[in-house]
């Protein structure tokens, strides 16, 4: 419960954060809300030499209407996304899901960028951004680049960020019409045993799964089935296709796959399918 010794720097700008990342490389970790990183450090499962605290970079805390897209600064707290009128108008599913994460304390500390960059497939927001077909804006010494959300998560706790890069913005398209989000938890504050989201954007239906594999899953088979005219129930039958959820105290593989089918059906129904 006491982390290994580490150095701590608080930076005042994104540029300073990048400079520090360049200086320390692999030995450094960015600290945003700290709700994922600090528990790992306290258990000594993560032992960074340097913590670069970006939590107070107000320049990266915003929810902006950008026409066809809504842009969310990486350091926007879940609470601020949940209560953002811009999010509520443009991507209500994002505001709703942000308002369901953990508990009020978590939502006032945790950030959207932290959640995505941490790469935990049990987190809610990555699957939503993946389902929306969002874009992640990454900044590094070689400038800014954009990564499709579907390409961002590479493996369990592994994302497409070089050690000297940081995630600065999450861009998601506006949604059209109703949407659905369901997650199964034992307790309100828990990570989802399984979660499902169904959204419609200008590009069509997107279906995402939480905690059904090493990365957030886009349930393409379901989307294809719906496009082909299948009912919610029929389409949802293929929700677990190709998924590789882990088995733990909260659920076996078979149970998780069953629940995925149930929750996808419900999400599709809510989304008007």
């Amino acid at each position: 419960m006491i982390p290994a010794p580490f150095d701590y720097v608080r930076v005042k700008s994104a540029d300073e954060a990048l400079a520090k990342l360049a200086e320390h490389g692999d030995a450094a970790k960015l600290l945003a809300g700290g709700h994922s990183l600090l528990p790992l450090m306290k258990l000594r499962l993560a032992t960074p030499d340097v913590l670069i605290d970006v939590g107070r970079l107000s320049e990266l805390s915003y929810v902006r209407d950008e026409g066809d897209e809504v842009a969310v600064g990486a350091l926007t707290r879940h609470h601020d996304v949940a209560t953002s009128p811009v999010a509520a108008a443009g991507v209500p599913v994002l505001a709703h899901v942000a308002g369901q994460i953990g508990d009020p304390q978590v939502r006032h500390r945790g950030t959207i960028g932290g959640s995505l960059a941490h790469g935990d497939p049990a987190s809610d927001l990555p699957a939503v951004v993946v389902a929306l077909g969002g874009t992640l804006v990454v900044q590094g010494p070689r400038g800014r680049r954009e990564v499709a959300a579907t390409d961002f998560h590479r493996g369990f706790f592994e994302v497409a960020l070089a050690p000297d890069e940081m995630l600065v913005e999450v861009r998601v398209p506006r949604t059209v019409g109703p949407w659905g989000f369901h997650k199964l938890t034992k307790r309100a504050q828990d990570w989802a045993i399984v979660g499902a989201v169904a959204v419609t954007t200008a590009d069509g239906l997107g279906v995402g799964l939480i905690n059904m594999g090493p990365v957030p899953v886009r349930a393409r088979a379901v989307e294809v089935a719906v496009a082909a005219g299948a009912s919610a129930a029929d389409a949802a039958a293929s929700a677990a296709e190709g998924t590789e959820p882990s088995a733990d105290n909260n659920g076996s593989v078979a149970y998780r796959q069953h629940v995925a089918r149930v929750l996808v059906r419900r999400a599709l129904e809510d989304a008007g399918v």
């Binding site: 006491i2 290994a4 034992k186 504050q189």
Partner: protein
């Protein structure tokens, strides 16, 4: 007008809600060293070697101790009932038997230095086969204590009356797992010690029983009780698991003496999940028999109790299960035998209810199973078998004598308040509609025993010359509200405002004797002692007043509305408590004080009915508790606010056991639930607002007419919620689901029932 029975707000709360309490870890101990333990990472292994050299050389480290350095005798057996060959060494001696067992004690100048250095202690383990499930342990294939030759620590075999179920039209048997849970007090274990220049050990402990700590620590360190002074400051919960002394406490005291410096220790939550005793842990084989008209005629319970690695309090708790085996029913034949076995897991101990929730869970689950078997409404089966209110004192088949009860009344109220018939109508509607969200209604009519191992208690009331009152009590609270309740008792007798009453507890020098706060005994034992002391001090004051007024003693009256004494008929000439206390000191130099060592008046038997309503998502297995109605009777209620608080906390923990909480180990004895992310500690978000009601049937056993209320929540709520879950699924063919009724477990039960139907 009496203050008793009023919702007096807690006198304790302004501090807790503003500056906060002072816990052991908050105490200012200049120069204190920090102790941390190196704990076993293996469930069962021989310790080939322990290399402490790197740790000893680490910055800030003062010393590292292992078993041989201490030279202390192992922990004591539990009231002489558990085997000597199974006692726990103060630090692991050659063999470790559970993950978390202390192997070495490391003392450093700072906690951080101690934690860092502890990682440098190299333990060479030679793994042994581990046994986790008591059902496997009892086969003695893997033995924890070769010298004992068996894993069985204690047995109570009442002999099996094979004729018990003769003549029963219906006989049903069910194996019920009453799972192992973690007590999880918000304040983890913490202790500190230093030695005075006179050689006295000053000990600070987060405990429910400071006098017990004093005596146990003195024996362990070969000291006299007077050589040890224990203070328990504010204590953030205990739930039974802090009623006894742990090996770590003894090491803290030993280190302070050995090093001649103050030593402090506070465990982490992760350590607490492995080190603080666990609760429950029974595998029950229950058999119920009766006739199709709903009469229950026989009940047999065979308990297999999991002791964990070293037999402690948990080992003997099945005695309490046996005491309450037949519950609230007139079952002519009932018996309970048990076997307690060791496993490579954290030792089990008392946890809120301690043996009685297990009894209630067994009989209440089996009554529902019996009802399902004969196709009768479970409320009706209960009605037909409840002990009638004119049958008390009532002796059960195992010899327990219930004092008094109005069982039927609590059932009727619960059914009425809940709207039982409407709930059944709604249930039928959802069943007919094939609604994926099914409704379940669960009942639990319970009776339990408080102050079950009858012990006396100390209480004193002293009036100071300034008229304020100091109360000393041997029951040391850890959240219950004794300061408020005891103030009310004294105010009632003395006629002084509660603001003028100070209640002192938790200091073994200031309170000379005490037993402690556990087993829902405080009001019955400690409260009655204080009440008697208050009555006695009034009588002493009357002696003094008689002298002052130069009147006959029998003519002296206490006007409680003003807190003054006068001669009958002349109220204008009055003397207050301050004058009498001053006169007492002036006369003889002795304070106006009454001390009482209350002999135990024996146990009482609180009872009640809990009714739970759950919604089960039959597609995912997720259970939501929708309503919980608790009708409890704890005799006379001194303060309904405090009583409700006890019910609320207990119900929450009961719901948690029914739906969420379980300590889980893998097959090698590795804990899988050693933090509050993995262990499903319940929160307010999972709970509805409780509907709490009381009936008051005073017990004749003590002058206050009071029974205990601290544990009725876990005893009453757990089976009600458990039964509600099964009830929701009854039409699908589900007869039983073990606790906790987690989503996957419930869904598996639904699927299995569907497969049975299909087959």
């Amino acid at each position: 007008m009496s203050i008793l029975g009023n919702r007096v707000v807690r006198r304790e709360d302004p501090k807790f809600l503003s500056v906060g309490g002072t816990y052991v870890a908050d105490l200012d101990l200049p120069g204190a060293l920090h102790l941390v333990f190196v704990r076993s990472s293996m469930a069962h292994a021989r310790l080939a070697s322990i290399d402490t050299s790197a740790a000893e050389a680490a910055p800030g480290v003062v010393a590292v101790f292992t078993h041989h350095d201490l030279g202390l005798a192992p922990m004591e057996t539990v009231v002489g009932m558990t085997p000597e060959a199974m006692t726990q060494p103060i630090l692991a001696a050659g063999t470790v038997r559970y993950v978390g067992e202390p192997i070495a004690a490391l003392v450093a100048e700072t906690r951080e230095a101690a934690v860092d250095a502890a990682e440098l202690v190299v333990v060479d383990y030679e793994p042994l086969a581990a046994v986790v499930d008591p059902r496997v342990a009892r086969r003695d294939e893997t033995i924890l204590f070769p010298d004992a030759g068996t894993n069985t620590a204690l047995t109570l075999d009442m002999g099996r009356d094979e004729a018990m179920f003769d003549g029963c039209e219906v006989r049903v048997q069910q194996v019920i797992v009453n799972q192992r849970v973690a007590p999880c007090p918000l304040e983890v274990r913490s202790a500190a010690a230093f030695v005075t220049p006179e050689g006295r050990v000053e000990f600070r402990s987060s405990t429910q029983a400071p006098h017990g700590v004093r005596d146990t620590l003195a024996r362990a360190l070969a000291l006299e009780p007077d050589d040890v002074h224990v203070i328990s400051p504010d204590v953030g919960g205990g739930f039974g698991a802090k009623a006894t002394v742990y090996t770590e406490d003894i090491v803290v005291g030993w280190c302070a003496r050995h090093l001649g410096r103050p030593v402090r220790w506070t465990e982490t939550r992760s350590e607490s999940m492995l080190g603080l005793g666990h609760g429950r842990g029974q595998v029950q084989t229950a058999t119920i028999g009766g006739s199709r008209d709903g009469t229950i005629t026989a009940f047999d319970l065979a308990v297999l109790q999991d002791c964990g690695a070293y037999p402690g309090m948990g080992t003997v708790l099945p005695f309490m299960t046996r005491t309450m085996v037949s519950g609230v029913y007139t079952i002519p034949k009932a018996e309970c035998s048990f076997e307690s076995v060791v496993t490579n897991t954290t030792p089990t101990t008392a946890y809120r209810g301690a043996g009685r929730p297990e009894a209630a869970a067994a009989i209440e689950r089996m009554v529902d199973i019996f009802a399902a078997e004969i196709g009768m409404d479970p409320a009706e089966v209960r009605r037909r078998n409840l002990i009638a209110s004119d049958a008390f004192p009532y002796t059960t088949p195992v010899g327990t004598v219930y004092d008094v009860g109005e069982y039927r009344r609590t059932l009727d109220i619960a059914l009425d308040v809940a709207g039982y018939d409407e709930l059944r109508t709604e249930q039928r509607r959802r069943r007919d509609a094939g609604d994926p969200r099914q409704l379940g209604v669960g009942l639990s009519c319970y009776v339990e025993i408080t102050n079950g191992i009858p012990e006396g208690e100390y209480g004193s009331v002293e009036v100071r010359p300034d008229g304020t009152v100091v109360v000393r009590t041997g029951t040391s609270p850890h959240g219950q509200g004794h300061v408020t309740a005891w103030s009310m008792l004294v105010a009632e007798q003395l006629g002084v405002p509660i603001e003028d009453i100070e209640v002192i507890h938790g200091d073994t020098d200031v309170v000379p004797r005490g037993v402690g706060t556990f087993g829902s005994r405080s009001l019955q034992a400690g409260g009655n002692a204080v009440n008697q002391a208050a009555i006695d001090v009034v009588e002493k004051a009357k002696d003094i007043a008689a002298d002052l007024f130069e009147a006959a003693r029998e003519d002296i009256v206490l006007d409680k509305s003003r807190g003054v004494f006068h001669v009958v008929g002349t109220p204008a000439l009055a003397r207050g408590w301050a004058e009498l206390a001053t006169a007492a000191v002036a006369a003889g130099g002795n304070p106006l004080l009454a001390e009482v060592d209350l002999a135990s008046p024996g146990p009482t038997f609180p009872f009640g009915t809990h009714l739970a309503v759950v919604e089960v998502d039959t597609e995912t297995g997720h259970v939501t508790l929708v309503r919980h109605v608790a009708v409890d009777d704890a005799g006379r209620i001194v303060n309904p606010l405090l009583a409700e608080g006890q019910v609320h906390g207990g119900v929450a923990q009961g719901v948690a056991q029914a739906l969420l909480e379980e300590v889980v180990y893998d097959g090698d004895g590795n804990p899988l639930t050693a933090n509050l992310a993995d262990y499903s500690f319940i929160s307010a978000a999972e709970l509805p607002s409780f509907e709490t009601l009381f009936t008051e049937t005073p017990t004749p056993v003590n002058p206050l007419g009071a029974k205990g209320i601290g544990e009725s929540g876990t005893i009453g709520a757990t089976p009600a919620v458990h039964n509600a879950v099964v009830d929701a699924l009854a039409h699908l063919g589900v007869r039983h689901v073990d606790m906790p009724a987690t989503p996957e477990r419930v869904w598996n039960a639904i699927r299995d029932a569907a497969e049975r139907k299909g087959a």
